[in-house]
């Protein structure tokens, strides 16, 4: 597929090749950003199936709108913004899914566990705690502390003012601390 001839090639150069008609070169960008973007999607949506949906949609939309990427050196950031929007749309749908009849019981089980007493591993506790945050503050927390974006970058991508973002991040930190404490106490009892 040509992965060999994309290693070491800059994003901008790959973008140029795709726009010139070499569709396969896009696979190089997908491979390059899959895990990086995947981490955010998994943390934001809480399960891999939805994360993969979001990733797939983001990559396809990225391809379709590639001509509108005005700064191909910043392709990653541009694509990330697309992914964030996809996660918002999918996340909103998923929050209601539990009210509908779902056929895949394993997915339901994975998606619907709420109580820390059912989890013993630290990782699962942390994932649970992040899941409890409302989407808006979860997003801000992940962007700031996990993806390590600056507030300027976050404003550019999300459109929210820095003051609003800071408030969301602060609330997220408070909430998470409370939840983690609660989980620890529950684990001890």
């Amino acid at each position: 597929m040509g992965i060999h001839d994309v290693k070491g090639t800059s994003d901008a150069a790959l973008v140029a090749r795709v726009l010139a008609g070499e569709t396969d070169a896009y696979a190089g960008l997908v491979a390059r950003y899959r895990d990086r973007l995947g981490r955010y999607a998994v943390r934001m949506l809480g399960n891999e199936a939805d994360a993969e949906d979001a990733l797939q949609e983001a990559f396809v939309r990225g391809y379709r709108s590639l001509a509108r990427c005005t700064d191909p050196d910043k392709f990653g950031a541009w694509l990330f913004a697309i992914l964030i929007n996809r996660c918002r749309t999918i996340g909103k749908q998923r929050a209601r899914r539990q009210q509908l009849v779902v056929q895949d019981e394993a997915a339901v089980a994975k998606a619907s566990v709420k109580h820390p007493e059912e989890r013993s591993a630290l990782r699962e506790t942390i994932e649970w705690a992040v899941e409890q945050l409302s989407p808006t503050i979860r997003e801000a927390f992940l962007l700031k502390h996990v993806e390590e974006l600056s507030y300027d970058e976050m404003t550019t991508i999300t459109g929210a003012k820095t003051s609003a973002l800071k408030m969301r991040v602060a609330r997220a930190r408070q909430e998470l601390q409370r939840l983690l404490e609660e989980a620890e106490r529950a684990g001890r009892e």
Binding site: A20, Y26, L55, Q56, F59, D71, I126, L142, V146, E184
Partner: protein, 187 residues
Amino acid sequence: MPEESDRLEQAIRVLKEPAQIDSGLDRRVMAEIESVPLPGAWPHRFWMTLDWLKRGRPVRVSPLGGLAFTVGIAILVLFGREWMTPQEPGAPLATTAQGSVVQFVIVAPAASGVSLVGDFNDWSSAATPMRRVGGNGVWEVTVPLDAGRYRYAFLVDGSTWLRDPSAPPTLDDEFGRPGSVVTIGEL
């Protein structure tokens, strides 16, 4: 409390661990892209002029945006008459059972004649002449419109096309001339 922030820092460390997304995703993405080819979907200019790679970051300017607001304020200040309140297309003056009545306004002080040309009058340059109001180059006309989305522009002195600064522009000027859009929703 140090204990609390340790807990949080630990959580952040765990969350930062990289995800491992199945590389089957790559195949699905490429399959989806390839199943829907877009011949000629990208504007030709992007294919031909890849020198944007070498240029600095392009600057997005909205030259008429600021002007629109200024013009709007100027009209309010100068005239203050009821009908001169900048009515933006899409905010009809009146809504009737047949449709809506929309006022179009443009400031063109140097013009001798301005006409409104668009989807609603078969792009005829003669069908909807605008009338000059006051002495400051303000032209207006009101038009009844049914529900729909209409592309239009102002034609000044039969030769210069102007878009309406107070309305959204057309997405691409397919024919090399500026244009605007007004949308009337169903009642």
